[in-house]
């Protein structure tokens, strides 16, 4: 079995901490992509030391992305300490949503089930909920799936829509509030339900049965899941390649790469998918055929995808 690492560690502790600090706490001007090349143990240690219960929600959002890449479930107890019995501010609410997302990403069923219950008990009924928070809570529910459901949130949303409906004529802001809630009800909620159903189905399947669909989800050629499930699919495939057998994963990606139809996709999308597939194969220590290598080389568009370790130009 090929030994695949999450990342090729190439930064010393000082530089790595600097990169992590800039990413997690750097604010508006920080890089938008979780830095690669850092020891996963150091990532966990850094977050343990620096991410505090009162850290900005944005920092918790960044931690979610770091942990998705570095897979440090050992950090969950530390994150859970940031949950309050009831959120006391909008920041608490958003922070809690991010913490639950990480639990959904990394936790066991024994951990995700109570987290989903907490979401229903503490977040969904919160008077601090804004119309803009609904999509965040829905993302959290997708992360926690198969645990939990959108039922309680949907009930609250329906109640809010009913309340907002007669007020919508009172002024522009009242109309905006109603329309935002309606948009969640008509678009985000059913989309989340479909994503949850898809994730639940795939999660229950053996690796072989779901592999092709996961590859399609990651590449966007089976686009039912959206971007959130694309990352989840990538993590599932990486897990299989790391801990089971990487060959079938490579094979599935190669097959997808070879079957791309440039004419149907258009150049930009073809390149994007080819790059994504090529990066995934190389990241998972597979090899590209000369033809695939040529396609991969032509597809370079500056995009760096989840399954990619951001190697330096020299390799």
């Amino acid at each position: 079995m090929q030994l695949i690492q999450i990342t090729l560690v190439r930064f010393d502790d000082e530089r790595a901490r600097h990169l992590l600090d800039n990413y997690v706490f750097g604010g508006w001007y920080s890089p938008s992509r979780a830095p690669r090349g850092i020891s996963p143990e150091l990532v966990a240690l850094f977050l343990q030391e620096e991410l505090q219960p009162d850290s900005p929600p944005e920092a918790y959002g960044r931690a979610v992305e770091l942990l998705q890449f570095y897979e440090r479930a050992d950090l969950l107890p530390h994150l859970r300490a940031g949950l309050k019995r009831q959120p006391e501010s909008g920041a608490d609410l958003l922070r809690a949503a991010h913490i639950l997302q990480s639990i959904g990403d990394l936790g066991t069923p024994q951990e995700t089930a109570p987290s989903a219950a907490y979401l229903d008990a503490a977040l969904v009924p919160s008077p601090l909920m804004t119309p803009e928070m609904y999509p965040v809570i829905l993302e959290t529910l997708i992360a926690l799936a198969p645990a939990g459901s959108t039922a309680q949130l949907a009930r609250r949303l329906a109640g809010e829509v009913a309340k907002a409906a007669p007020e919508q004529k009172a002024g522009v802001q009242q109309m905006f509030r109603h329309d935002k809630l309606r948009a969640v009800q008509r678009n985000d909620l059913p989309r989340a339900d479909r994503a949850i159903a898809l994730k639940t189905r795939l999660a229950a399947q053996p690796a072989e049965a779901r592999r092709a669909e996961l590859v399609g989800l990651y590449l966007g050629t089976v686009p039912a899941g959206g971007l959130q499930l694309a990352v989840w699919a990538a993590r599932m495939l990486r897990y299989e390649a790391m801990y089971s057998d990487s060959e079938p994963v490579w094979r599935q990606f190669r097959q997808a790469l070879d079957s791309l139809d440039a004419g149907a996709l258009g150049e930009a999308q073809f390149n994007d998918i080819a790059l994504r597939a090529g990066q995934a194969i190389l990241y998972l220590h597979g090899e590209l055929s000369p033809r695939q290598l040529a396609v991969f080389g032509m597809a370079q568009n500056g995009s760096r995808n989840f399954l990619w370790d951001d190697p330096t130009p020299s390799g």
Partner: protein, 636 residues
């Protein structure tokens, strides 16, 4: 026969007299032809009459040896110098312009961390700052102590027929303004070799007397000259307006009154230098201030006066150290209604294509929405449903293609502008915004829904609250405000909103800028007009008012402008200069001598977040502002 001498700037009667062999100006003052000059300093072009020298002869025997001293040589003079370590004093280069210092006022040295020298003579800690200067006086007949008047001189503007302000004269400030902008008795001790008198190291600073804490002037009162604005925000572009006065149009004058001039109104030598010189340039900016409701109050209750005040006081002060000043370009300062809910954003964030297949039974998917008159407008059209068939769009069904389909599907009378949105870092393609309008008035897009099988293909409507802008990223709300007032490509647009919040409604920042990220964002990711080179300022962040007539948060506008000009982020945490830099993450609220206002220049380099690999660089920010900011900068 008397000789006629045409005076030059800085000439004195004593000086002309000495040049022509007299010991002082008495003989010239006695000549009736020079009567106009007895009670004023000479001006260039004055014609001075130099009487003949009356030779005196003596027939006494010369049996002793005398040591002769020529009392009037070298001639009395005054100049500005930076000084040097090794050259003889009089061989030091004469300065031809002065600059506002980039250093923390009481700091010096090549690293910018040493104490600024307060003693006369050469000190490497004072010499390292290229913007320090000294006043040098040569007067062989003078004895210590010698004092010089150092003062800022204000320009006098005239409005030409084309509406352009030009400088037609220079004059001293008067009264309290003059007192604040001068050192009446600048000490100039004699140098070691006794050939001249020189002041200690001096700096130009731009902080006026503060109300709460000590500013730069107070940090080192005897070694700083205040050169500052008089902005009150009330200007209308007239020559005499306080807002019109530019720091970089001012000059610095040093005046030495000859100690041995016998006249009642004694002769004085002067030297006067410009500030900034040819390096002076202007940064084009346009302010777009949003109202909270149509024709309603401005966000935060701010006024035209307060916006002018913020630009012409604080931006001028902090930018003077890099010889820049703001110039209101395009609309200058405009007040803009909040946009209606008239923008559909397609695949915001994801940039995903659609499949053209419906989740309901496999038929053609569609975008559906309804167009209604916005309740805050005058539109008169009836509620109009619009259905856009996504299945009929040829593959690849990109958001931009879908936007085009939306445009094409609009009923007669409606028009749309389609905007290509740069790809988000986490997206798979470029999103698209469609702004829909109707000639009768404001449009509201409602009941939007999409049923495509691609879950990442979304539609949403920007429903903007200008009092609380959602800006946790470049959201559709942020983009809609930009489309409402796109400004000019060659100017930095400053959008003024009430507050900036995240999804939970929590105030998240005082301001943010959308930089170009040259070297990082390429291809589809590249930001383009109008979604770039813009600043979003909050009037009412948690830290107090930021755009009113107070001095609270005085650094923020200048800080944000530097983000765009230099195309970079903040000073890297832990840098030795972090606490004093204008680009520190989170500037101070209140001005002080140690506050976050310095824009580093050589020799002090600061470690900064940059978009290009590897993400940080130790650099000269002043140079970077001028090179990266060139598209927004023009000649003085």
């Amino acid at each position: 026969m008397p000789k006629l001498v045409t005076a030059k700037d800085g000439d004195t009667l004593c000086g002309i007299a000495m040049d022509n062999g007299f010991l002082n100006c008495d003989p010239l003052r006695a000549d009736p032809a020079n009567a106009p000059f007895l009670n004023r300093q000479l001006q260039a072009g004055d014609v001075v009459t130099v009487p003949d020298i009356v030779l005196k002869t003596s027939d006494a025997p010369t049996t002793n040896v005398f040591k002769a001293l020529k009392k009037n040589a070298p001639p009395v003079s005054i100049r500005f110098v930076h000084g040097s370590q090794n050259l003889p004093y009089l061989q030091d280069t004469t300065s031809t312009l002065l600059n506002v210092s980039n250093y923390q006022t009481n700091r010096g040295g090549a690293g910018g961390l040493d104490n600024f020298p307060t003693a006369p003579e050469f000190h490497p800690e004072g010499h390292a700052d290229p913007d320090t200067f000294k006043v040098e006086v040569v007067d062989p007949a003078a004895g210590a102590p010698l004092h010089v008047l150092l003062e800022a001189i204000r320009p006098q503007y005239t409005l030409d027929p084309a509406g352009k302000l030009t400088i037609t004269g220079l004059a001293p400030f008067t009264g309290a303004d003059q007192a604040a902008r001068s050192i009446a008795q600048l000490d100039c001790p004699q140098v070691r070799s006794r050939v001249a008198f020189r002041s200690r190291y001096l700096r130009l600073v731009t902080d006026e007397l503060p109300t709460l804490t000590s500013g730069d002037k107070q940090a080192l009162p005897d070694q700083t000259l205040l050169v500052t604005d008089m902005a009150d925000g009330n200007g209308t572009g007239q020559p005499a307006d306080n807002d019109t006065l530019e720091i970089l149009d001012q000059q610095v004058r040093a005046t030495y009154v000859l100690q041995n001039c016998p006249a009642g109104s004694p002769c004085a030598v002067t030297v006067q230098l410009p500030i900034g010189g040819a390096a002076r340039q202007r940064v084009r900016v346009t302010f777009h201030v949003f109202r909270t409701t149509v024709n309603g109050a401005n966000v935060g209750g701010i006024s035209l006066q307060s916006v002018r005040f913020r630009a012409f006081r604080w931006v001028r002060r902090f930018f003077a150290q890099v010889s820049l000043s703001p110039l209101l370009a395009g609309a200058g300062i405009e007040f803009v209604d909040p946009p209606a809910a008239d923008m559909l954003s397609i695949s915001d964030g994801s940039g995903a294509v659609c499949n053209g297949v419906s989740i309901f039974g496999g038929g053609s998917s569609s975008i559906f929405f309804r167009l209604e008159p916005s309740p805050d407008g005058t539109a008169t059209f009836p509620s109009t449903p619009v259905s856009v068939d996504l299945g009929s769009i040829p593959a690849p069904r990109t958001p931009l293609a879908a936007g085009g389909a939306v445009q094409a599907a609009l009923p007669a009378g409606f028009t749309a502008q389609v905007f290509d949105v740069p790809r988000d870092r986490n997206g798979v393609g470029k999103a698209c915004d469609v702004v829909i309008s109707h000639p009768s008035g404001r449009v509201a897009v409602r009941d939007e829904v999409v049923d495509d099988t691609n879950a990442a293909f979304t539609v949403s409507v920007a429903r903007v609250n200008t009092a609380q802008l959602r800006s946790e990223r470049i959201t559709p709300d942020v983009r809609r405000l930009t489309y409402a007032a796109p400004g000019r490509d060659d100017a930095i647009d400053i959008y003024v909103v009430g507050d900036q919040v995240d999804q939970a409604g929590t105030s998240v920042r005082r301001a943010m800028s959308i930089t170009r990220e040259i070297g990082n964002l390429t291809g589809d990711f590249e930001r383009h007009s109008p979604l770039v080179a813009s600043v979003f300022m909050s009037t009412s962040p948690l830290t107090g008012p930021a755009m009113d007539l107070s001095d609270n948060e005085c650094f923020t506008v200048a800080h944000e402008l530097v983000h765009v000009l230099a195309d970079l982020g903040h000073v890297v945490k832990g840098d030795l200069h972090e606490s004093e830099q204008l680009m520190r993450a989170g500037t101070d609220r209140v001005n002080s001598a140690t506050a976050t206002k310095r824009i580093n220049d050589s020799p002090v380099l600061v470690n900064m977040q940059v978009p290009e690999d590897p993400g940080t660089a130790r650099l000269n920010l002043t140079s970077r502002i001028r090179t990266k900011g060139a598209p927004f900068i023009q000649d003085w």
